[in-house]
Amino acid sequence: MDKLDDLLVSDVAKEDVPILKPILHTGKKFYAVVFILVVIILIGVYAWILQLKKGLGITGLNHPIFWGVYITNFVFFIGISHAGTLISAILRLAHAEWRRAITRSAEVITVLVLFFGVFNIVTDLGRPGRMFKVFTDGKLGSPLLWDVVSISIYLAASAIYLYLPLIPDIALMRDKLRSKTKRFFYGIFALNWKGTEKQWTILEKAISVMAVIVIPVAISVHTVVSYVFAMTIQPMWHSTIFGPYFVTGAIFSGIAALILAMYFIRRSYHLEDYLKPVHFNNLGLLMLVMSLLWFYFTFTENLTAFYGAEPAHLAVFWSKFTGAYAPYFWTMVVCCFVIPLVILSNRRTRTVTGTMVVSIFVIIGMWLERFTIVLPTLINPRLPYERGIYHPTWIEFAVTAGCFAAFILLYMLFTKFFPIISMWEVKQGREKGIKETEERIKSYLPGKAQ
């Protein structure tokens, strides 16, 4: 703590110290983890360079399985991105007071993970060097271009949405840190934030506006991602419910990612006081709802295919239920439905650890869900004379692992530069929230409105 005192100016609020601590002090464990992550990233980078040099032939992709792990990753990462901005925006607009400690950690996920979604598309391209043709010669008829548009908007919007609430905290650090260089850099990002009344009004208005904008954008993003599949004429891709199905899955996996992030932040930075069991409980309940909704969509989707019994659809259906992709499919059902249902529906298991465990399974399950959407259709082309099978090579695994590692690393680095819990919001909650909530609750109750 002595050290901390050296780094901070004296008049910092006591309750802010634990939040600022990770920025000021870095332990050995952190470096160990970073080292491991960097090694994984470097392996991934090596694999990627190899792939760029030699061509996509060194992956397990083939004819007719033209899409595999990379596209799965793309859909998955874009799905994860729904964790943050969407959840945070909904909670903000709903004036859910418990949101205050978790919005930041959620929003960061969105911004960071979007890059990896895009990166996986680039990796999947046969000629990544020409990807800018999408901007110069883009054909708006292609759903892939809709993706480009909506993801770009989403990325911009969520970056702004992350940045706006950061401003007061950056300004706080500009003021409270002793290091001059840091003060200088934070000063740049603080945009001359003085905390005046006018600034506060503008900020809060901007945040509210952004929250409203971000929600449809977020939903459109994953709807459009689903269109990449749904707009084709391929069996079991060409489905009308893919939009909501993908959005549901996205939010579902997003919550899981958020819970995991919160769990590790809470543990490693000792923020038990900020990220409380009630947060996990609430998110757990939300996840349970999404799990049920997800199951409902999965059920509907497959039942229609089965009942309709078109041969092309059935081929895909059976390869999921009993065929080559059955292990993946059933693991997915267990991970995304059985385990969440069992653990989350019980108040006693819906603990911090409980939700964390469920989240891990959901993450795995949701990745598998994307996988079992992409592949069974591809291995069963309509003309029944060509059959393929897909075994990813180490290249795809290495690149995937690299993406995950890089995401985690970037997330960790973020926590080292910016407070992962929105300090002013928590403070605001403490100062205004209670009163406001009281007022609000009062307004629900019978009696005269104030």
Partner: protein, 230 residues
Amino acid sequence: MPRWGMVIDLDKCTGCQACVIACKAENNIPFSSPKEARLKRIISWMSVLPVMEGEYPDLRERFIPRPCMHCDNPPCVKVCPVGATYKNREGLVAQVYTQCIGCRYCTNNCPYTLKYFNWYTPEWPKEMENYLNPDVPIRSKGVVEKCTFCHHRLQKAREKARAENRRLKEGDYVPACVQTCPTEAIYFGDLDDPHSLVAKLARGPRAFRLLEELGTEPKVYYLTEGEWHG
């Protein structure tokens, strides 16, 4: 404006695959290796699909030569984000290799799975580079390719006809597969010309198209006697 189309008589096809080799020779299609072949990465713009029905000893087999269908309503064109694949005014579904970014969306949306991807840089032993057709480019790694109906032969045929001061007549332009087919099972011509042989055959009672129900309007017709069993 002609609308180029192909008619393949399955009753005449003997599955010899001369069309397959002719196509590979004409269009500089690289050959595979055993390893690549196991991954089904053989590029074969024209391939002969065997369709066998029944059980021993009551068997029926048909061979279906399958080039690009050059659909009038091509699903691959719709999804291309950069316009690398498009349908030209004569109904040829073209692939511009220098424009292709290799996203393979078109390959996935082709219900006939007949678009091919270059997984590696195509290579030939030095001696074999001699036989490459200088009219047709070598596709680079990472781009999608497919049967073009040998449209470079159209360019040349049209040029020849114009130089000879006459109109393009039937048979001036045929793809390499049509040219070589020993049994003359493959016909090629203008589907919009009601007097052309292909138009007549395509209207005939033996004609059908692959996956017609998808509404892709393929311009490759097949002829067979009796009922078609896909």
